[in-house]
Amino acid sequence: MERQGPAIIGVGRTRFGEHYEIAPEKLVEEAWLRASESAGIERKDLEAGYFSDYFLQLTNKIGIEEGFLSELSELHIPMEKMRSFSSALLNACNAVQSGRYSFVLVGGVEKMTDRWDKIRDDLMLLEDPWSYYAGCTPEANHELMLREYLKRYKISGKSLETFNIALAQIAAKNHYHATKNEYAQFQKEVAVETVLEKRLQTSKPLGLYDFAPISDGAAALILASHEIAREYTDTPVYVAGSSSATDYITFPSREDRTGFVASTAAIESALKMADLDINQIEIAELYDQSTLLEMTSLEDLGFSKRGRAWLDISNSCRDYEGFYQIDGKKLFVNTNGGLKADGNPLGATGGAQIFEIVRQLRGEAGDRQVKADGDLRFGCALELEGFGTKAYIHVLGRD
């Protein structure tokens, strides 16, 4: 019997995209109120808050986020601020698990479009300074990893063509999913040819449609202790496993540059905690900052064999039916549109991932509800901080 940890009893989010006119705290408020409403709890039930954002200090001159949230909620409860949503959730889980709190608010926000001309420089704070000094960009490491991958697995000629198309198919697939997601930033389809064309225009290995956008948005959830969750909902979703791992900040210094060891370490310990096997996970939200990362994450997490994910993708996307078919098994990936099409407001991104898995497990995903072969019971979300510098895995399950 798998482990049943703290329960998510409500989720909420804003649409991702450009919200020039909305202040960051208003975005959090919107997500938080939706989560509270869906959980059916009162503001005063909250005992603690864990929040996440990466860059509000830079982008919005907001230094102590907790103060804004205290003012907004008119609560004086303990609050802590982390970088990623998954980090906030992991810490909230630990606190609830320890028995300290019964109800915790977890929220994340980012406001990136306010700083359009500087945001790519801000993103370099997630890399090592030496790479920055040598001319690195937020996209460069993805492309270097792609070159390493091609070298390692000796992919050239006809295979290279298939490989390049497979990556483009990931973008097209994620855009297709986003058409059914009312919260997604880009609710429109993008053709594989368009993705390929953008690469050709700049003579680069990855193009505009291979990368996630910058976005504004917020997400929130209400975490409750296992014991009381059933009093508030008939369909609690349990955090069966939560884990994180780290890797060197300097990408060139890493031993393996064709994947992320942090992702592999995180999934291993999260599965162990949940007492599950990777084959029991049927739906996954992967951190597709680029199409390449969705592909390599399939390998890092053990869904695909090393060096074969692009073939699995290629085979599944020829006539895409809404899921990847890997060794005869269905795997639903990024059904919200992924970072690519759903949007990527850093501090809130992980919240959208959890939001999606919760909705799918509860059967509340509407038009985009996946059709698993049996009962859909387990899903996982992979969130990264930096270029694989930190990896967070949350394994979610239901009764």
Binding site: D117, K118, R120, D121, M124, D128, P129, W130, S131, Y132, Y133, A134, G135, C136, T137, E139, A140, E143, L144, R147, E148, K151, T202, S203, K204, P205, T250, F251, P252, S253, R257
Partner: protein, 503 residues
């Protein structure tokens, strides 16, 4: 704004590419480390410093950067990748420099797997009043313009009675503009007089085989230091590790100073360097003199723009000492007068000069006087001199002065390099001298006459020794290499101005 304490630490590591090696297991790290992750506690006190400054690396993978972060936009498109050293023991991020990629079709695999050498360059653009950031995580291909030269310290064999040149290096990049008979050297975007000084000094150390810790003083002469206040010499001393390095505070036991006297700022110090190494009480085995300039000129259609037809870019470095000398200094003569033929006021970007006034009462008067006086003192006739070289602001002046002093064409052509590099200001007559030293036989006499506006001249007489030939094989980056290289890239006027203005 660049923050100064951070800048100090970053340049200390990055300018020289300093790292660490565990002497227990041999594992290497880029950036200094006191502890080996593999050996754990037993590596305490067993980490040694290693640097990659003179090494050759390999570009493993790369990508094209077309939309750089804000401080890199001026560079235009560039190649960024991962470079490995020592067969993959260490990997560093790096930018390929000296490539103009605009509108070029790029095949990434044509760059990968090739050998690269670190170059000392500006890191990125900063505001006009900020510290200029530098780094050696910029690379060029080893099989192109810049050859890889190993730095082997050689134990000196012979002690001389007279001080002289023990090694030298000239640094001119591969970019040129050709207009009529004149070819001129141009810096790449990330170069300036500081980077040329370091690169020239590095080449001189390689050629001389001198242990850099024995260099007790470095002089850098320039009229285009990007700082009004802050020496180039301090950067040279730090990057080239001149003098004993005091660890762990990162101080170099060396005296470093910048000098300024228009185009004779460097040659003027030849005698000071020689005297210093000669004086026993100074305890200085070697002294280095560098002349470096990104020769300034206003655009052609602006006042002072006539200089824009002649200016070049480059640096030269000479190491003086008493051991393993390749050319002894026989004597010198200097003269000075307050002649305002060329000047640049504080806060002005470009110098101005006095038109035809710069020729007769300025250049010719001082150079002929200095040379005649020197020859008189040493009792020399033109036929006693194998090579004559003078300051070369254009092609006409040095030829005219040579003829006036009674030298024949075969005596002055070897040192005439202005037609290939343009007027490199402080580096001009030293580059001519280097071209002669590249080919001179033992026991030949060279007379070099510099000229600096403002105005003054230094004349030196040097006599080559037998060691000039045995040291020659250590110098791959000769003047000839820099003139005849097939990788030289010619650019148009607009590109030239853009590159010259730099980051």
């Amino acid at each position: 704004m660049t923050s100064e304490p951070i800048e100090r630490r970053v340049s200390y590591i990055g300018d020289r590419l300093r790292g660490s090696r565990c002497i227990v297991c041999g594992r290497e790290y880029f950036k200094t480390k006191d502890y080996c992750g593999k050996c754990g506690r037993k590596s305490f006190g067993k980490m040694e410093e290693v640097d990659f400054f003179y090494e050759k690396g390999k570009l493993e993978v790369c990508t094209l950067i077309k939309e750089p972060t804000n401080k890199f936009t001026k560079l235009g498109p560039f190649i960024y990748g991962i470079i490995s050293f020592h067969d993959g023991k260490v990997r560093v991020p790096g930018r390929l420099t000296d490539l103009i990629l605009r509108n070029k079709k790029i095949e990434l695999s044509s760059f990968e797997e090739r050998e690269v050498i670190p170059r000392f360059r500006r890191r990125h653009a900063v505001g006009h009043s900020d510290i200029i950031p530098t780094i050696s995580l910029a690379f060029t291909f080893a099989d192109e313009y810049y050859p890889h030269q190993e730095y082997d310290i050689v134990k000196p064999k012979k002690e001389y009675d007279t001080p002289g040149i023990v090694g030298y290096g000239v640094y001119v990049p591969k970019f040129r503009i050709k207009e009529g008979a004149l070819e001129r050297s141009i810096p790449f975007m990330d170069e300036d007089s500081i980077t040329a000084a370091v690169e020239a000094g590095k080449t001189a150390l390689v050629h001389s085989g001198v242990d850099s810790s024995l260099v007790g003083k470095v002089y850098v002469g320039s009229e285009s230091n990007p700082y009004a206040v802050k020496p180039i010499a301090s950067k040279v001393a730090q990057v080239l590790k001149l003098g004993e390095e005091e660890k762990p505070d990162g101080l170099q036991g060396v005296d470093a100073v910048d000098t300024e006297f228009a185009c004779k700022a460097a040659t003027s110090m030849f005698k000071d360097a020689s005297s210093l190494v000669y004086y026993p009480g100074a305890n200085t085995s070697y002294a280095m003199v560098i002349g470096t300039d990104n020769s300034q000129a206003a655009p052609r259609d602006e006042p002072g723009g006539e200089l824009d037809l002649f200016v070049g870019y480059g640096g030269s470095a000479f190491i003086f000492g008493m051991r393993d000398v390749i050319a002894e200094i026989e004597g010198w003569y200097s003269c000075t007068s307050d002649t305002p033929d060329f000047w640049r006021r504080d806060l002005e970007s470009y110098p101005r000069h006095g038109g035809r006034f710069t020729g007769e009462p300025a250049y010719f008067k001082h150079t002929t006087k200095a040379c005649r006086k020197l020859m008189e003192r040493l009792n020399l006739q033109p036929e006693d001199i194998s090579y004559f070289v003078s300051h070369q602001p254009n092609i006409r002046f040095p030829v005219k002065v040579a003829k006036e002093l009674g030298f024949r064409e075969e005596q002055y052509t070897a040192g005439l390099q202005v037609a290939k590099f343009g007027n490199t200001y402080s580096g001009a007559s030293p580059i001519g001298l280097a071209a002669i030293l590249d080919n001179a036989k033992p026991n030949e006499r060279i007379v070099v006459v510099s000229y600096g506006s403002g105005a003054g001249s230094d004349a030196y007489s040097l006599v080559t020794t037998s060691q000039i030939e045995e040291k020659r094989r250590r110098q791959k980056f000769t003047i000839r290499h820099q003139v005849e290289n097939e990788c030289i890239e010619y650019v148009d006027y607009d590109t030239y101005r853009r590159l010259k203005l730099g980051l």
